[in-house]
Symmetry: C2
Subunit: 426 residues, 2 copies
């Protein structure tokens, strides 16, 4: 088919009519499908069912160092959990703490604590500053942005390319504005683009010279080993920050929520030894310790990093056909049509679709109208405001393959219909 | 024996010498005993071992309403957990949310959120006030006070009698000072006194007319069913606050940490429907949900409130001999001696010892010197400062009965020795 931007009004009108009846046919089916969240599918959850048998009343419930996992204590986690997830995050055992079941909640908690009391090296609590600003590479993760918005932190969009966020812009901003206290990054298989930061990007992040002495890089390594097609090595952030003499500038977060069970996993924070010691002291004011039985269950199930990699390979085998289904449908229906482009990721949980400018909201509204839930347009940007109204995050993991194929038919029809209307009105 | 305050210098000197050699004999044993924290004993943990077999890979892991407990979702918890713990806390199912594994962390989180964004009805975040103050009934729980101190909240001591904190003082302060935003209470089997607030105290708390429109009662109902000797009914706080038209003024917290496994339990917050809805909206900014598998495990194990009561009766049967050992030793060694008094509680986790003025720190230092760890003197008061240096919290749950008896010998010798010295120097 001819690209929409080369079609005559008549051709576009005809196309629009055809697409409208196609859309109405979808709508008539009364679908109820969901491509909104990065939620693992039932087949992925089944991979961790053996973990349910790891601990029982006959098990030894003591961890290394003779710690009774059924009782209070061990604020930073049991040794074997710290060792496993330190290996997973590429840090030393005294550079990690286990922090409950969800890393997002702990990220919020870190920023809330920074607001109220400051981080290691702060001259004052962040709330005592005239204003606090964060840099937000876009497209990014809506819940990171929600945390900043909730806490009244001003967010600044940073465009992202295939090598990572615009480092020139970041360097300029960070070195000149002492109110910029942090940056969100998802360095590997980023949410939603699926890109992995280049070595150069990591080195430049590690070498930042912030005007704010208590600036922090909030690195959400949610997809550390979450390949779909192939692994892309990420330079060790901790090593890079240490080499630059900026070790204390880095906070790393991760969890097993997409390794084992979402919501019932193990979350952790990695940082330089001094940061961890400082955090432990802060936490001791309001926490006694996190669920050690679940730590033990996880370590005995996953065993070691090769164990995690083997588990992630099984996840990849289940995710790949779903990613294929999305990519293949987009390629078959939209290639060269001028109705949007997309990024095929190597890993992570999402496929990013870039609609024609001003078309994303309309596409998502049409999908919803036909019973297909998508992440809101704008969710990829701070304040829910994508200035181009272009980015759409497709989450293929939760629906079954059949549901996904149907949902993608609705999506492609919607994208074409909105684009045809867009060019008609140009 | 004669009371110390009636002894002559000679008699006291002789007594001191005898006690010093008694103390040195204890010290020579090289003991390592701990009466510091309210940590359940191994025998109590064993009561919950059947819970380890409740879920396995063959179990139905869906909750009521067909919610997959292995996946994301249900920010406020699964329905059966909300129902069970609503019953336990004496509230309705839409007046509760399940909030992870430890209530202390969530109490901190509530206050931190109030500081940063306010509570329902706040005109501004609490950090925007000139200052924030909390009322702290004393003796009280050190970790409540640590949260306030960490957040820079000024604490005001409120004396406590057998019916609860001094309500005249509370009414006067709360109605006149708009910077007083909260009060900590442990209304049942309080930490450490073990008293239960009278109906009148609860009614007066419920009828407060705070100058601060966003004042909150932080009620830590940690020991709701934690009898040792006998149950003492607590008036329903939620009902009382509703009757006074102050439903939104009440936050209730609780957990199963001393019902099942400390650190691996279920924590919850109860409050009026509007408060819960407001909190849920706030939480949705930075949380996706808490461990639903652990909720399911707990509900299927505990079943219902009679199930919890039966479990707590078993705990009581194990705790009672330990409380008896402490009380009996105190009665045998110290009755009428002028070397301190004590409170025999009906339930909870502690026995409170009131040393002669200015003697608590010295007693605890001596105990430590002889290998017996106690909660720090002053821990029962804000800023770790007991103005009378009198209160000592004895936690009898963790040591074995034999260890406890030995520890109490050391304690009584220390209390007598410090008291004899005290009267010698008078």
């Amino acid at each position: 088919m001819k690209p929409y931007n080369t079609m005559s009004k008549e051709e576009l009108t005809k196309e629009k009519e055809a697409l409208t009846s196609e859309f109405n046919a979808h709508k008539a089916k009364g679908l109820k499908l969901n491509m909104a969240r990065g939620k693992p599918g039932d087949d992925q959850l089944a991979l961790s069912m053996p973990m349910m048998d790891i601990l029982n009343s006959k098990s030894n419930l003591y961890s290394e160092g003779n710690i009774d996992c059924r009782n209070y204590g061990e604020l930073t986690g049991i040794p074997e959990a710290k060792r496993l997830f330190a290996d997973y995050m590429g840090v030393a055992i005294d550079e990690i703490m286990i922090v409950g079941s969800t890393s997002l909640t702990f990220m919020y908690d870190c920023i809330a604590r920074a607001m109220l009391t400051g981080v290691l090296g702060s001259e004052r609590p962040w709330v005592k500053e005239e204003k606090v600003k964060f840099l937000c590479p876009v497209p990014g993760y809506d819940r990171h942005f929600a945390i900043c918005q909730f806490l009244g932190i001003e967010m600044i969009n940073i465009p992202t390319s295939s090598t990572g966020p615009d480092m020139d812009m970041i360097e300029n901003l960070v070195s000149s504005d002492p109110l910029i206290k942090g940056i969100w990054v998802v360095p590997k298989f980023s949410n939603p683009l699926g890109i992995t930061y280049s070595d150069n990007t990591i080195k430049r992040l590690a070498s930042l010279k912030p005007a704010a002495k208590d600036f922090r890089v909030f690195s959400d390594n949610a997809y550390a080993m979450h390949i779909v097609y192939k692994d892309v090595p990420l330079l060790s952030m901790m090593d890079a920050f240490k080499e630059s003499g900026n070790a204390n500038m880095l906070y790393l977060f991760g969890s097993t929520n997409k390794v084992t069970f979402p919501g019932a996993g193990i979350a952790f924070m990695a940082a330089a030894k001094e940061n961890i010691a400082f955090k432990e002291k802060q936490l001791s004011m309001h926490a006694i310790g996190y669920d050690k039985l679940n730590m033990l269950r996880h370590v005995r199930f996953l065993k070691d990093v090769p164990g995690i990699k083997a588990q992630m390979q099984k996840h990849a085998d289940l995710l790949r056909p779903k990613f294929d289904a999305v990519i293949n449908k987009l390629e078959a229906e939209l290639t060269g049509l001028g109705a949007g482009t997309w990024v095929k990721p190597d890993g992570g949980y999402f496929i990013t679709f870039m609609a024609e400018k001003g078309c994303a909201k309309k596409i998502i509204a049409l999908c919803k109208d036909a019973g297909v839930s998508m992440t809101n347009a704008g969710a990829t940007h701070p304040y829910g405001n994508d200035p181009d109204d272009s980015f759409i995050r497709i989450a293929p993991s939760f629906p079954s393959l059949e549901e996904l194929k149907t949902a993608m038919e609705v999506f492609c029809t919607s994208a074409k219909l909105v684009s045809a209307e867009h060019y008609l009105s140009c």
